[in-house]
Amino acid sequence: MPRFHGQSNHTPMDVVNQLRKQYADYLASLFHEGVLDDQFTQLQKLQDESNPDFTVEVASLFFVDSDKLIDNMAAALERSPVDFKQVDADVHQLKGSSSSIGATRVKNLCITFRSFCEAQSYEGCLICLQQVKNECALLKDKLQNLFSMEQQIVGAGGSVPLMD
């Protein structure tokens, strides 16, 4: 939360505007870092009064799915012999859902991961699995920050700015 030095009579509008600016800057940084892409904005645009938590719900679904898929991949990679086709199928699934929510870096990692599956490279797959795990954890963290900032804006009576 920002601390206001000096002035003690900020209007509610000042607070909302400050929150909105912080949100916009944070969101822009996520786009700039390649964590999110325009598909995420498309999802935000689908949110309306009939579904005010649409984006949060889709994101939650994604993390439930991705956790399951990652566990499956880890288990498949531990078996002997490794069923690379199964791992590939799970990575393909994760690639699809990550692209659907605009999670660019996760999606791109999946593309690399698939080529290691195709090449049947055990080490390559292990490295990709770890990277995917890290990237999903990072995304979860960032989205949680984003959503809690959204709640603050809405709680203060403002509207959430979208990326242009």
């Binding site: 598909q39 689908l46 889709v58 679904l61 799915d65 690639k95 699809g96 692209s99």
Partner: protein, 135 residues
């Protein structure tokens, strides 16, 4: 208001119906929402076999959004089966990036149109504009 003005007033809801066939819960939610926004009543099933079964139960749809990769029965088999059953609905294949060979195979199964995931409002509108046969 004179009763003559009330007769013949059609429901403001759009009358196009759709079926979402996809095993990915994220895609299901997004496609369901996209269709709702366009006022299109839609059902969601999780694989090709359920898509076939729902038709066997007598339901029909103007539009079917068919994912390609699904367990039990994939989109290609389901599309073939539905066409064999005489289903003439507009079938839109939806999938993550696939090779031109895979796309061709999907089209040959009986697709009307194909789009890569993720679907957007724009892509969906272009699909809806292609609906020819009312179910």
């Amino acid at each position: 208001m004179p009763t003559s003005q009330l007769h013949g007033v059609s429901s403001p809801k759009c009358e196009v119906t759709a079926l979402v066939v996809d095993d990915d819960t994220v895609s299901q939610m997004i496609h369901h929402k996209l269709l709702n926004i366009l006022g299109i009543e839609n059902d969601v099933v999780v694989n090709g076999k359920q898509a076939v079964d729902i038709h066997l139960s007598g339901k029909k749809f103007d539009l079917i959004l068919m994912d390609r990769d699904m367990p039990v029965m994939n989109g290609i088999e389901a599309t073939k089966k539905l066409r064999d059953m005489g289903i003439r609905s507009t079938i839109a294949g939806v999938s993550s990036h696939s090779s031109s060979k895979e796309k061709q195979e999907f089209f040959e199964a009986g697709l009307d149109v194909y789009h890569e995931k993720p679907l957007s409002v724009a892509k969906l509108l272009s699909v809806v504009s292609k609906i020819k046969h009312k179910a």
